[in-house]
């Protein structure tokens, strides 16, 4: 069972975590977003093999954070707290 590093709580068992998704900016406002752009936001993921940045939620403390992980080797490079929404 893997161990993931929550930036706030430290290393914890993988079962304490929930995968949120790839970092994506939500296309807005709705009126200015094409069908293709919205569909891509909803359904298409880069799904890169190898190193990538992923958004995870630590269910124990309910903090969302970013983890850099290698999807081919399962190696965890590191994790960081998120700064909050862009101003």
């Amino acid at each position: 069972m893997q161990i993931f590093p929550c930036p706030f709580c430290g290393p914890r068992d993988e079962t304490e975590f929930h995968y949120v998704g790839e970092p994506k900016a939500r296309p807005e406002p709705a009126g200015a977003v094409s069908d293709a752009e919205w569909a891509s936001y909803l359904w298409f993921n880069a799904n890169e093999k190898g190193l990538g940045r992923e958004i995870w939620l630590h269910l124990t403390c309910m903090e969302m954070f970013a983890m850099t992980r290698d999807t081919a080797t399962n190696a965890v490079i590191g994790s960081e707290a998120l700064a909050g929404p862009a101003p």
């Binding site: 069972m1 893997q2 161990i3 993988e14 929930h18 949120v20 296309p27 807005e28 406002p29 709705a30 977003v33 069908d35 919205w38 569909a39 909803l42 939620l57 269910l59 309910m62 903090e63 969302m64 399962n74 998120l82 909050g84 929404p85």
Partner: protein, 921 residues
Amino acid sequence: MGFAGDSIASALLANGVRIVGRSFKYHRPRGVWGAWTEEPNAIVDVTRNGRTTPNLRATTEPLENDIAVRSVNAAPTAASDRAAFIDRLAPLLPAGFYYKTFLWPRWERFEGSIRAMAGLGRVDPNNRPPADNPQINARCDLLVIGGGAAGLAAAGAAARAGRIVFLIDDRAEIGGQLIHRGGAIQGGDWRDWAQSAASALEAAGGRIMTRTTAYGVYDGDLVCAWERRMAEPDALWRIRPQKIVIAAGAIERPLIVPDNDRPGVMSADAALVYLKRFGVLVGKRVVVATNNDSAYSVVEALAEAGAEVEMVDTRVSGPSCQLKVTRGAAIEGVVGAKGVEAVRFGGQTRECDALLLSGGWSPTVHLYAQARGRLRYDETLAALVPKGGVANLTVVGAANGAFTLAEALREGHEAGGGEGAAPNAPVGQYRVEGRWPKADDEGRRWIDFQNDVTLKDVALAAREGYVSVEHLKRYTTLGMATDQGKTANVNAIAAMAALTGRTIDETGTTTYRPPFVPVPMSIIGGRGRGALVNPLRRLPLEAEHRADGAAMREYGGWLRPAWYGPDDPARAIQREAAQARDAVALFDGSSLGKIEIIGPDAAKLADFHSYNRLSTLKVGRIRYGFVLQESGVVLDDGVTLRLAQDRFLVSCSSGHTDAVRTRLELWRQDRFDASRIAIHDTTAHWATLMVTGPRSRDLIEACGLDVALDDQSLPHMAFATAMFDGGPLRIARVSFTGDRSYELSVPARQAGALRSRLAEKLSALGGGLLGLEALMILRAEKGFIVVGKDTDGTTMPHDLGIAGPRDSRTDEYIGKRSLFMPVAADPRRKQLVGLSVAAGEAPLPTGAHVTSGAGRARQSQGYVTSSYFSPSLGRPIALGWVEAGLSRMGETVSIYHLGAERRATIVNPVALDPEGKRLHA
């Protein structure tokens, strides 16, 4: 007849029992081959205290008083098995015969008998182990797997350097091969040296666990071990070591000679174990056949114990020996159908009663390979050995191909970070010449004893193109038995390599997976059994419900009252529903989610999160609405209360609370200033009781609560606060039944007091308790949906007739853009409607399809989602989905279910009181 310390196998051998089982496919008689977990033949069902455990190895099970032992796959006994004739049909039953034969007219005709003739032990339905096996989490600096010479050297070195070491070994005592082969270490008896290493380990705060099998290495270097305890339930250890040393030893291989599966053919090392540890001589006239040096000590020991022994070495040169050695010869045949009577080699026939084979040693690399370690073939050692390079994990000793005592000690000492010289032992020598199966080897030569796979089967697989080792395994079943090919796999790989002109490295191995040995499910399940497998959420008032005769059932992960009383359920449910409409009823709604959004920016999050705008909701008021997925699909419905300018209470369906709360948290952090909003799940803090019916206000007034209940003070979709027994009370006027209805919420610890106060007034008003089943009828009569039952993974709010927010909102909310995608505007989208049938007909089956066309042209246009008999209307009602249903009111449609067709009419989903007058009655 046996001694304490005997295994079942050693006792059988001591008592001259040669045939201990029958082989899986051909039902050939089989004897004990080995002495530990690698045993392929002696598989037995053991009955202790009236309970039988199937498929145990006689070599690892201790002998106890009053046990019954039965050979699996043999009837009536192993010695006189009725199915023995199958062996004569062997030419018709090669590997994979079931892919090619017994197919006409139908495989199922033959399957039953074939399964009955194959298969191993029998499951005992009375054997229900209690769920009392603990799971223990532990950490240590170093985990040493294997307590033989190498493991003890590693553990001792690390402990003396101050590290906390766990040493585990699957036998009852540490020592590994030293126990039956002996060895002088540090100039003295190995036991003294072992004891000092063990003491150092314990003094440094470590742990030695015997009878403990490390059966798997998992992600993050998690090692799982099964500890067998004598007086207490076995335990599962989940160990997180900083570093791991694998000193798991090696397993002796057979030589693949003709008829090498006969009873009396055994592993040479096993024969030595039986002699030295159990005092059992496996034969009086013994032939030992080998290709390596290690079997010579077996020959000497057996001779010293009084057996007539001679050696047949495939090599032309080898160690000198006092006893007769025939060099450069191979075993050509084994005579004796029910047990070894003679062997043929070098043109001679030698009478004997045991043939001991030593084809070399296979390092026990399983855990290393589970950790993604790679192997390479070493020609000198004739073995697959670790390549190394796995972080935090070192393999030492025989498991690493270090087959002599001095080498094993040195490797262990180094791996344990030992300073100075390694513990010393006389320098030894191990030479071997690989003697692998060849393409032109004749006769029936067994490679996998347990699954009855021969060299001919490997050749068959190669001929038919199954040349990958993974295909070889599945096509022939070689390596798939309960021993997982511990004595077979390496010979099989070598055979396939020879047959296909590849090297052993090129042929490779199959993937190693846990567990290393069969592990009882009770260990893996631990205490998570029965009610603890998937614990349900319980209501604060459960005891009160049960006292009132509630039938408790699971709904969305909660245990809730379905109906009350001992009456026939269908009658009870109809009665409860009728009573709720006629007078008043009391219902427990405590499981509903109650999530507060608090803070100066609470309204912003509430608006973004919900399909319906909430910032316009006045304090003290309640609004019903949906929350959507980003795909526009309805995730949940429910009411929201505005408790204060900066405080909202979102009420969600009992089964969706976690999903809604997670979502609120994610958006709070991602989109808003998280310092200005807090999310607080108060679901468990409050108990909520619903009072519903035309006499609901009368009931509450009779309870003397300090709150104004006139419709001016407390209109529909508003709430008020008061005190109850010194604590807060919230009384909300919302209705899930369509009747006048109130929901009273108090802190959970006061639930009992509130319920008593309300319940004691019920009968005077002609009212009663309301269970969830009856509530489902009441809400369906009003066309109120249950998300997940009356909606599916495609339902959007406008399909339910609620398009207002979509049409009027200009601000962003979750799912907004999806409501304007092409699929959302498809005219064929299904819409929620009512479906009615003629009076006197049975209710429509839930899940029945609304169809057009007939025969092969029949197409589904929707389906029934909720269907009940309505006591208030005296006829069945139903809700369902129909393509463009809202524009087809009054149309008669076909309903199709399990081959039967009926008719129904599309009607308003609100079957009762469409004007909503009963809300204010």
